[in-house]
C-alpha cells in the first residue's frame, strides 16, 4: 500500500526555514502570506500500514521536535 507521511516542525518551535520563505514571497509580489512552515514529505510502499506509527516514532520523525500525519 502506498502511504505518505507529512512531517511538520512542532508548533512553537522557531522555524527559520518557514520564516525565510515567508519573507521571500512578498519580495516577489506575493502579499498576504503568513504562518509559513516548511516540513517534509515521505512517500513509501508498505505491506503492513499498521506499523506506520511505530516507523514514524522510531525513525521517520523525532517526536520531540516534529509532528506527523499519515495519509494512506
Amino acid at each position: 500500500m502506498r502511504a505518505r507521511v507529512l512531517v511538520r516542525p512542532k508548533a512553537g518551535i522557531l522555524d527559520p526555514q518557514g520564516q525565510a520563505v515567508e519573507r521571500a514571497l512578498p519580495a516577489l509580489g506575493f502579499d498576504g502570506v503568513s504562518n509559513v512552515h516548511v516540513g517534509r514529505l515521505i512517500e513509501l510502499d508498505v505491506d503492513d500500514p499498521e506499523r506506520l506509527p511505530e516507523m514514524c516514532e522510531r525513525l521517520l520523525t523525532n517526536p520531540l521536535i516534529e509532528d506527523y500525519t499519515i495519509e494512506q
Partner: protein, 225 residues
C-alpha cells in the same frame, strides 16, 4: 586509559578525535559495523555526517551495529562523549536530552567561540573551574540546542548544562546559550563545539584538551583505581 573513537561512514573528525585523545591516553578506532568496543574505558562519537545525515542529522547512525554496544556501555556507567554530529547521534539515541535543530541563520557557521564552564565537576569538566572560559571552534549547520522549557529548567536545576556560549558567542540560536549537556547520571556528554580541534597552541587554542584530560582523570580515579 583507552579511548575508542567510533567511525561511521561519513565521519570526518574521527582522526582529529583520535589524535586529541592520543595526547592524554591510548586511542583506537571503533568500526560502526562491529559489535566490539575493544575494552575501551571511554567512547567518543565524533563529528561529521554519519550515514550522510539523511533524514535528520544522526537519525540513522543511532541504529548502527556499534551503537547497541555504546548504549549498553553508557547504561553501565561508561563515559561517552559526543562531539557535534556525535552530540546529534546521542540525542537521537535518547542517551542525551533534547535535540539539535538547524541554525537560526540557516547558514553553516565555522568560527572560534568562547564558552563558559557552567559546572566544573564530574567526568568531563572536572579539570575546569565553574565560570572559566574555554576557546574552542564550532563548525556546523545543525547546532541549535532545543528542549522544551520545562526540560531546560530541569536540566539547569540538575546541573546537567556543563557549557554555555558566552553572551554574544551563541553561533546557532541554541536555547539558553547551551553548548553542552550531560545525562542525568553525568556519564554521557554532548557538545557542539569541537574540543578535538583545540588541542595545540599552533591551532589557536589548546583549551579543548581540558575535556580529554578531565576524562582521563575521572577514569584513572574512578574506574582504573
Amino acid at each position: 586509559m583507552k579511548f575508542g573513537i567510533v567511525r561511521f561512514p561519513g565521519s570526518c573528525d574521527d582522526i582529529d578525535a583520535l589524535q586529541a585523545a592520543s595526547r592524554v591516553g591510548e586511542a583506537v578506532l571503533l568500526w560502526h559495523a562491529d559489535h566490539d568496543l575493544q575494552g575501551v574505558d571511554a567512547v567518543i562519537v565524533p563529528g561529521g555526517f554519519s550515514y550522510g545525515d539523511y533524514l535528520r542529522a544522526g537519525a540513522i547512525a543511532r541504529f548502527a551495529p556499534v551503537m547497541s554496544e555504546v548504549e549498553e556501555f553508557a547504561r553501565e556507567g561508561g563515559l561517552v562523549l559526543g562531539i557535534c554530529n556525535g552530540f546529534q547521534v546521542l540525542c537521537e539515541a535518547g542517551l542525551l536530552p533534547g535535540a539539535l535543530l538547524p541554525n537560526v541563520s540557516l547558514k553553516f557557521v565555522f568560527r572560534q567561540v568562547e564558552l563558559e564552564v557552567v559546572r566544573g565537576a564530574g567526568p568531563f569538566t572536572g579539570g575546569c573551574e565553574a565560570g572559566e572560559r574555554l576557546s574552542i571552534p564550532v563548525k556546523h549547520t545543525t547546532g541549535r540546542y532545543y528542549a522544551p522549557d520545562v526540560e531546560l529548567d530541569r536540566l539547569e536545576a540538575a546541573g546537567q548544562v556543563l557549557l554555555r556560549y558566552v553572551p554574544g558567542h551563541n553561533p546557532n540560536g541554541s536555547l539558553r546559550d547551551i553548548a553542552g549537556v550531560c545525562s542525568e547520571p553525568r556519564n554521557v556528554f554532548g557538545l557542539m563545539p569541537h574540543p578535538e580541534h583545540a588541542v595545540d597552541p599552533l591551532s589557536g587554542s589548546a583549551d579543548g584538551l581540558r575535556i580529554f584530560e578531565s576524562m582521563r582523570s575521572h577514569v584513572e580515579q574512578h574506574v582504573l583505581a
